[in-house]
Structure formats: C-alpha cells, structure tokens
C-alpha cells in the first residue's frame, strides 16, 4: 500500500506539471457542462414558426352556435411552437430561409368560409427549409401534431352541432333559424301523438292501417337515430390513444441530457487518464524497473485505477456543480451519485488500463481510447426501431460488454430516480473486474 501511495503522489505531481493534460482534464468536462447547460436552459425547446394570418380581421370560425375563433387556434399552436406573427408571405419566406423560423404557416383569406361550409376542406400552406433532414423531421412532427389537434377541435365542434340537431329531431324542442324561433315536434312526440290518434279511431277504420305504418316507421327511426348519435360521437375521435410504458420511464429531455453529459465526462476523463498513465510507464521505460522490485504488476494496476477513477470522480463532480447552475440537480441524492461515480469511475479506469496495455506510447494510448470510446457512445444511444432489428441487437450486445451504457443507466437512476440502480451497478462491477483481469493479463507482455 505504501508503494501505491508513493506512485499516486508521483502521478499526481506529473499530472500537475503537464499543463496541457491538466487543462484538458479540467476544461473538457467543464466545457461540456457549460455547453449542455446553455443548450438546455437558454435554448427554447419549442421551434419558432412564422404565422401569416390572411383571414380578414374580425372574421371568426362559427360552427352551429359555437364560436371557435381562428381556423388554426393560436392557443393550441402556441403549446407546441413559438408563434411569431409576420405580415406577409415574402417576409415569412425570408425568415425560413435565414433560419430565424423553422417553418412558416400561411392561412389563406378563405380559410374560415371553407371550414364553415362543411363541404370543402380549408387548406393552410406550410413553408419549410429541408436543407437539414433533422430540422425537416422536427417541423413535420411539430406541424403535423398542431394540424391534427386543430382537425380534432373542428371535428368535435361539428359533431357537437350535428348531435344537437339529431337530439332535436328525436326529442323535439325550439330552434332558431335566421333570428326566427321555431318549435320542432320530434320523433318521440310524433310517436305519442300517432299512437293516441290510432286508439281514438274505430277498430275497422282503414286509416288505422295507414297509421300503423307511420307508427312502425317512427319506431324504426327512433331506434336508428339513437344509434346514429353514438356513431357520430365515435367518428369525432375514431382512434383514442392510451399510452402504456413497457420499459424505461418518462424522463424529461433536460434530465437525460444532463445524465448523458455526466456519463460522457466521467468516461472520457477516466479512460484517457488510465490508458495514458499506464502507457507513460512504458514510454519512460520505468515499468520494468518498478515491477522487478518494489511494486507488483497488480499493485501498479491498482494504482492506475485509483488515480484515474479518483481524478475522474472529482472532475465529474466539478462538472455537475457547474451543470447545476443550468439544470435542476437533486442534491439530496448526493450519496447515490457518489456511489455511482465511484463504481463507474472504477469500471472506466479498468477499461482504460486494459486499453493502456495495448499501446507503447501515451499518444497511441490516447488515440486508441478516443477511437474506442466514440463508437461506444453511439451504440449506447441508438434507440430501438430506428435501425434494423439485427443491427439494434448488435448495438445492445456491444453496449453490454463496455461500461458506458450501464454507467448512463446508473447515472439516470442515481441522479433522477429513473429506473433500476442495483442492476447497472452490478453490471459495472462485473465489467470492471473483467477489464482489470484483461489489463493484468496484458501486463505480462508489457515490458518487452
């Protein structure tokens, strides 16, 4: 243990005297924290959409006696996008081209009259810039959901109006047409009147047979209009969605991004430092001198894991502290974070030392670490359904044998209570042990 302590002091002193390395180790995670922080807090999570409303002022959509306001409801639109009013189509086009707005929505002057007619669809125009496929997808999703919501709103209004007319037809009542009030008898009342009239007629009266036909038709109409009312309600919203979460929990995007920033920083700092510190013993030719006498190979490995894990945890904590200025951080869960950072740091450090045994120089070890880490992050972030099933299975398998994915899961669980914590922790411990054994085996051929 004394030897490990002196080696730790030595490595920290070397680190302190390597200003570029130290700066990268500290500046990198802080820069990542600031970048994520600004992106999460300053940026609007709603895309800006320019709106050109050409409908004459004061003209509002009315279905039956329901006042529905604009054709495209501004309040509904504002829930999903940031609306910016623009006076003309030309200005809207310029805003989209310049990137000031993600899209422009143009509502033509006849939109209200067409929507009210119930015979023709009202058509709004969407201007988008498709130079960026991600941006294009974002516009499609945002506008499609707004249009769907508007269609639902109009459809409900139409169904409500028609249901009221249907009820009037069935039950009777008073109706106002062009300012004049009328009384509608209703099928039910007609049935009562015709049945009473039939009872008043002599048994052999030929009119009675005629009335029987009217009564049968009336009963049939009553039954079918009753069913029709329910059908009309269903048509107003033919498919209702009930969301059931099968795996994972709903985590706010900001929390996921913060967890990702923490896991990425811990991984890069720890793996690079562990790989570099071990390779340094080879570059400086000190490895053989150390292990032939004062320090065992396992002791040297343990020292590198302690060094890289310790520095990784400290730097990541600094990063979380910076990140907390932008994103809500639950300080009450500090013990859990620390546990996850320590276990994750140890697993990443073991992985880094395994990489370090493959390189003869510090620069080669760093390059190898970068080359290995970037695809791991990519594999861990591929969501299901966006690639073919076999490729998704492959990315899951790759993610399972490296520490990044379990570390990300553990960070989410520890920081935000999202998901299971013991599972990823044991996964990390297992991987850490496996990589430590691989590194120990790699050290056998390290000196020559």
């Amino acid at each position: 243990m004394r030897a490990i302590r002196w080696l730790l002091v030595k490595d920290l002193r070397i680190l302190w005297r390597s200003p570029v390395t130290t700066a990268v180790l500290v500046v990198y995670p802080v820069a990542v924290a600031l970048l994520f922080g600004f992106a999460l807090s300053r940026g609007s999570d709603k895309p800006t959409v320019a709106l050109v409303d050409q409908v004459p002022p004061g003209e509002e959509l009315t279905i039956g006696d329901q006042q529905l306001g604009d054709v495209v409801g501004r309040r509904e639109l504002a829930k999903r996008v940031k609306v910016e009013d623009v006076s003309s189509r030309r200005k809207a086009e310029r805003k989209v081209r310049d990137g000031d707005a993600l899209a422009a929505l143009i509502i033509p002057p006849d939109a209200v009259s067409k929507a009210e007619s119930q015979l023709e669809s009202s058509q709004v125009e969407l201007l988008v810039n498709e130079e960026d496929p991600v941006k294009g997808q974002l516009v499609d999703d945002a506008i499609a959901s707004v249009v769907a919501a508007e269609n639902r709103r109009l459809s409900r209004a139409l169904v409500r109006t028609n249901l009221r007319y249907l009820k009037l037809l069935l039950e009777g009542g008073r109706v106002s047409v062009l300012g004049n009030e009328f009384t509608v008898l209703g099928l039910r009342r007609i049935g009562e009147i015709t049945r009473a009239a039939r009872r008043a007629l002599p048994r052999r009266s030929p009119v009675r047979l005629q009335l029987d036909r009217v009564i049968r038709f009336n009963q049939l109409a009553l039954q079918n209009f009753g069913i029709g009312g329910k059908a009309l309600s269903a048509v107003g919203e033919p498919i209702k969605v009930k969301k059931v979460v099968l795996s994972g929990t709903r985590v706010p995007l900001t929390s996921f991004a913060a967890a990702l920033a923490v896991a990425v920083s811990l991984m890069f700092v720890t793996v690079l430092l562990a790989a570099g510190a071990l390779a340094l013993e080879r570059t400086e030719n000190t490895f053989a001198r150390l292990v032939r006498g004062p320090v065992s190979r396992t002791g040297l490995l343990a020292e590198k894991v302690l060094l890289a894990g310790g520095v990784g945890v400290l730097v990541t904590l600094l990063m979380v502290f910076v990140l907390s200025a932008f994103v809500a951080v639950e300080w009450g869960r500090f013990e859990l974070w620390l546990l996850v950072l320590v276990v994750g740091g140890a697993a990443f450090a073991a992985f880094g030392t395994a990489l370090g045994t493959l390189a003869r120089e510090v620069s080669a070890a760093s390059l190898l670490a970068f080359a290995a880490l970037l695809p791991l992050v990519f594999c861990a972030l591929v969501p299901s359904g966006v690639v073919s099933p076999w490729l998704y299975d492959l990315t899951r398998a790759v993610s399972a044998v490296f520490p990044f994915k379990p570390a990300l899961d553990a960070v989410q669980a520890a920081f935000y209570g999202d998901g299971d914590l013991p599972g990823p922790l044991f996964h990390l411990l297992g991987l850490g042990l496996a990589f430590a054994l691989a590194a120990r085996a790699g050290l056998r051929r390290f000196a020559f």
Partner: protein, 238 residues
C-alpha cells in the same frame, strides 16, 4: 583466482522468442569487486541476458543464483521526465524502502556529481546526465551486484570516462558489476572478465588478455584490436 563464491552465477541460460533463440546455453559468474563485460554485435542476446540476470524476465531453462541484492540499470534511462532529479531519486528510494531516504538521495547526488542539478526536471537534462541519474537509481539499494545495460551508449568520450571512473570506484568497494557494451575497447580496458556473445552463443568467456591472444591468433593482419575482434566474430559466423 577467487577464493570466495561468486555473488552472481548463471548456468546454461536458454531463452527463445517465438521461433528465434536469443540465448543458447549461456553461463557466467561474477565475484565481489569484479567487472564483467558482455560484448557482441546487435541482436547477440546481451540485453536478454542482462534482463534475465536482473529477474525482469525468466529464462526458458537454466538458473541464476545470486548472493545479496541485485540492481539493474536498463539501457534507456528509466526515469520520469517531469520529476526533478531529486524527486526521481526520492521516489525510488521510498519504493525501495530505504531507511534514510534523504540521506540516500544526498549520497547519490554527491556520487553522480549532480547536486547542483537536483531541482531540475529530468526532461531538461542532457543524455549523459540522465544516464548518471539512471545509474544512481540503480545504486540506491546499495546492491551487491550491479547490472548495467550499455551504460555508455549515449555518452560523449568525457562523460564515458567519468562513468567508468565511477563504476571502477564501485567495484573497488566490492560491488560486482556486469555490463554490456558495444565498445570493445571498454571491455578490453575496464573488465576483469569478458563474455563474447553472438547469435545467442557464448563464443568466449575469460580475461581480456586471453581474448586479446585469441583475437590476435584469429584476426592476424588486423591493424588494431577492434578490427581483429570483428574478424574473430566473422570467422565464427561462417
């Protein structure tokens, strides 16, 4: 010649790397105060022999017997460039569990004549001074046997002379020194016994005077000892 048993004895050492045989049954012995030179062309097996004697790697067969601590000074300086001379010495003194760390560091600084460079980072030292620190670290444990792998390779003639003066002084205090070198003259001038290696074979084991006689016989017509030695090696290669 020696009444006491050797401090270091190697018997029939063999070592292969893949299909290549680096050592083919090499034996040697070094007594207290003796300077043993190991010479031969590149790839002869000198470094492999010294690392086996130093227990850095194990032989495939054969054995090494030592009495007392053995220090090993690798060919390339094994130092931390970002640490100062004193910090390097202090670190290895602590790792070697030296009883008086500061005393050991001061002694080595004095022996190597680097007191005025003690606070300087090793990365800023010349090759010669780095080699002196490299040797000094090997001596921190006051070894009975000192193994030096090509200690003068990076040194200019003046630095070489100082090094051999220093090593000669160590041998004078009873330390047994085994060193490898490219410079035949260093074996001829400083060694008490010489081992000539070529392609893993021990071609010669004896005193420099015996080697001189053998070389003179085999390399007749050569202008100097080095030329005669090359002729001797070529003859064995054939």
């Amino acid at each position: 010649m020696y009444d006491e048993p050797p401090l270091l004895r190697a018997v029939e050492l063999r070592k292969s790397f893949g299909g290549r045989q680096a050592l083919r049954g090499v034996s040697l012995a070094a007594h207290a105060g003796e300077l043993v030179a190991c010479i031969g062309p590149n790839g002869a097996g000198k470094t492999t022999l010294l690392t086996i004697l130093a227990d850095v790697q194990a032989p495939d067969s054969g054995e090494v017997v030592t009495s007392g601590p053995v220090a090993w000074v690798p060919q390339q300086p094994a130092l931390y460039g970002r640490l100062t001379v004193a910090e390097n010495l202090r670190l290895f003194a602590r790792l070697e569990d030296a009883e008086d760390v500061d005393g050991a560091v001061a002694r080595m600084l004095a022996q190597t004549g680097l007191e005025d460079r003690a606070a300087e980072q090793v990365i800023r030292l010349s090759g010669g001074n780095r080699q002196r620190v490299n040797v000094a670290i090997g001596l921190l444990s006051s070894p009975a046997v000192l193994l030096l792998d090509e200690p003068s390779a990076a040194l200019d003639p003046r630095q070489r002379a100082r090094l051999w003066e220093f090593v000669g002084g160590l041998a004078g205090t009873g330390t047994s020194v085994v060193y490898s070198t490219h410079f035949v003259s260093e074996a001829e001038r400083h060694a008490t016994r010489v081992l000539v290696l070529a392609d893993g074979h021990a071609l010669f084991w004896g005193t420099p005077a015996e080697l001189e006689r053998l070389v003179a016989t085999n390399g007749a017509g050569a202008d100097d000892f080095e030329e005669a030695f090359v002729a001797f090696l070529e003859q064995h290669e054939r």
